[in-house]
């Protein structure tokens, strides 16, 4: 059958051929595509900076949130001794943001890792075992998915009580079904491929096939999901903190800092609100940028 190629469509073949000619593994190729993207480099820089903040500030700048208040220096605008100003209890905002990175990023990354572990496992099981296991698991996932994330997270916190650990659990439960669905879909597709049949023909056990042959191939879509999920989890954690359902005072969590300061924000003390808000925005932006770029890099067909 003859088909004319519309003049407007570009032909991607030379690019693919060039990458193939250099003899890179698909992973290397994806990594290079990612680094070639200016936007992704920006996102990576943001993530690295925030990670360093979270990792290094407890080492170099020890901080005890319980004894930090200085009621004489309440709501002071940014100056030399307090570059980001002080909050309503006279606490140094820069210090709290630096240490808040550990709490907020920790919540974001921790909850996503937990969700990824549980969700992927459930997805692998549902996809590979099939039948009744699949039906039961997916019924539960669909119920969880039917709820909008914020509502579900608040409901879970309402049930198990507010606090740092409980908000981590809540955010993580909210993200589990996404992992389970994606992994299951991938497993269903991969199960029928020749290399799986070959592994089975060679006498591989179900566990070996699942862990060594199928699981590695589900990683690319899961990586994209994970990066974007971290951005989402940071937002959700900050929202819970803002509503008073997440980290409890005096823990320096960015969302809780916003809740403390937003009533003063409208009366002129912008710094107490602006800096934690900017920290949340920047970190979320970083993960969103990298996530978007990763999707393009791992699946060049989707590039727009």
């Amino acid at each position: 059958m003859q088909r004319s190629i519309p003049a407007s469509s570009t032909i991607e073949l030379p690019v693919a051929a060039r990458i193939g000619a250099r003899g890179r593994s698909p992973l290397e190729a994806a990594w290079h595509r990612l680094l070639a993207n200016r936007v992704a480099r920006g996102g990576l820089v943001i993530i690295v900076v925030f990670t360093l903040m979270a990792a290094l500030s407890p080492v170099f700048l020890p901080y005890n949130p319980n004894v930090d208040s200085d009621l004489i220096a309440r709501l002071k605008p940014p100056n030399w001794s307090h570059p980001f100003g002080t909050d309503a209890l006279g606490r140094d905002i820069l210090m709290r943001i630096l240490h808040g990175a550990r709490v907020s990023l920790g919540l974001g990354v921790g909850s996503v890792l937990l969700a990824a572990a549980v969700g992927t496992l459930l997805g692998l099981l549902a996809g590979y075992v099939g039948r009744r296991t699949d039906l039961c698991l997916m019924f539960c996932m669909d119920i969880l998915l039917a709820f909008p994330a914020t509502l579900l997270a608040i409901a879970i916190v309402a049930m198990i009580g507010p606090g740092l650990r409980n908000s981590l659990i809540a955010i993580s439960v909210v993200s589990i079904p996404f992992y389970a669905r994606i992994t299951r879909g991938e497993v269903l597709a991969l199960k029928e491929r020749e290399f799986v049949t070959a592994a089975r023909g060679l006498g591989g056990s179900a566990r070996r096939i699942l862990l060594w042959h199928i699981f590695p191939n589900t990683l690319p879509p899961l990586t994209v999901q994970t990066t974007l999920a971290v951005a989402f989890a940071i937002l959700e954690a900050a929202a819970l903190g803002f509503l008073g359902l997440g980290a409890q005072p005096p823990i320096p969590e960015w969302g809780a800092m916003l809740a403390d300061s937003y009533k003063f924000f409208t009366s002129g003390a912008w710094w107490a609100f602006f800096f934690p808000g900017a920290a949340i925005m920047l970190s979320v932006l970083g993960f969103n940028l990298v996530g978007d770029a990763l999707r393009d890099a791992l699946d060049p067909r989707l590039r727009t």
Binding site: G161, A239, G244, G255, L258, T266, M281, N288
Partner: protein
């Protein structure tokens, strides 16, 4: 079609049953109760209160009682507002939340749709990069940061709009924009992608070759195809906007369901939290059904079974 709807409706029952049971037991098995306060109540007062709300009965009895009441549409009394029932509170809050949600959805569609179409038509232009950068910013700004900023600029700085509260249409603007921005950004990205896919196809070239005006080509020929992904997104988005108003209601002191919900969550008001969850589950189940029907109606390739 009618059979399909009836079958879907029948499918709601087991789902609702699981949701109600799960939330009931999770809530009750957690430590702490609605009447645990800093200052302990005298034993007799406490016993009287517990007897009034049947909290002294065994758990399975309370569960059966709750199931029976929910089946009759009664969500019980609120523990936090003793003279009000949960049904009354939801009845008060829902119209407010719904109005806010619909306005936010309108903002999202109008803003996001227009931006997406323009960006898709002028691919790789300055306009395209600009709108897509703003959109990326939009999905990264939490509404609890955007809200106070808008409040500061438009209410306290320029005095154009009221700071907070509820009543006139002027009170509605800032919260609706705050709530809608995130979704506007997402809609813009979806519309742009859809536009790019449609605009290169043959029937668009034919429409242009017929000598139609560009506006007609874009709005009548390209747009219906381009917004299909947006419609798929509309179901979850509307649900998320409706329930996502929790944070915005807190910022702007709006008396919607979200405020009762958060209040209930903070005060372990069992019936309020459970009631809201049940209410929203029913609402969302119907919502998904409507979206599925709408989708089958708009895209003849989709068959409902």
């Amino acid at each position: 079609m009618l059979g399909y709807i009836l079958r879907r409706l029948a499918g709601f029952l087991p789902v609702l049953f699981v949701i109600v049971s799960l939330s009931f037991f999770m809530m009750r098995l957690a430590p702490g109760g609605p009447f645990d306060q800093e200052r302990a109540l005298p034993d007799q007062v406490r016993a009287n209160i517990e007897a009034r709300y049947h909290l002294d009965e065994p758990l399975w009895r309370q569960y059966l009682r709750y199931l029976g009441e929910v089946a009759q549409g009664d969500l019980g009394p609120s523990f936090r507002y003793p003279d009000r029932s949960v049904n009354e509170l939801l009845g008060l809050g829902f119209p407010v939340s719904l109005t806010l949600g619909l306005c936010a959805l309108a903002v999202a569609l109008a803003l996001g749709g227009t931006a997406g179409i323009l960006a898709g038509l002028r691919r790789n232009s300055v306009l395209d990069y600009l709108t897509m950068s703003v959109a990326l910013g939009g999905v990264s700004v939490p509404n609890f940061v955007l809200g106070p900023i808008l409040m500061l600029v438009f209410a306290l700085g320029l005095h154009w709009l009221p700071v907070a509260g509820w009543g006139t249409w002027r009170h509605l603007i800032l919260p609706a924009v705050t709530l809608g921005t995130f979704y506007a950004a997402y809609v813009a990205r979806l519309t742009r992608a859809g536009m790019l896919e449609v605009i290169g196809q043959d029937f668009i070239r034919t429409a242009r070759a017929k000598g139609l005006r560009e506006a007609v080509v874009v709005l009548r020929h390209a747009l219906p195809g381009a917004i299909l992904p947006v419609i798929t997104y509309l179901g979850p988005a509307s649900a998320a906007i409706l329930t996502g108003s929790v944070v915005v209601e807190t910022i702007f002191s709006i008396p919607g369901i979200g405020r009762y919900f958060v209040g209930g969550a903070l005060n372990r008001d069992y019936t309020m939290v459970l009631g809201t969850v049940v209410f929203y589950s029913v609402l969302l189940l119907f919502f998904n059904l409507i979206v599925d029907i709408l989708y089958a109606y708009l895209d003849p390739r989709v068959q409902v079974r």
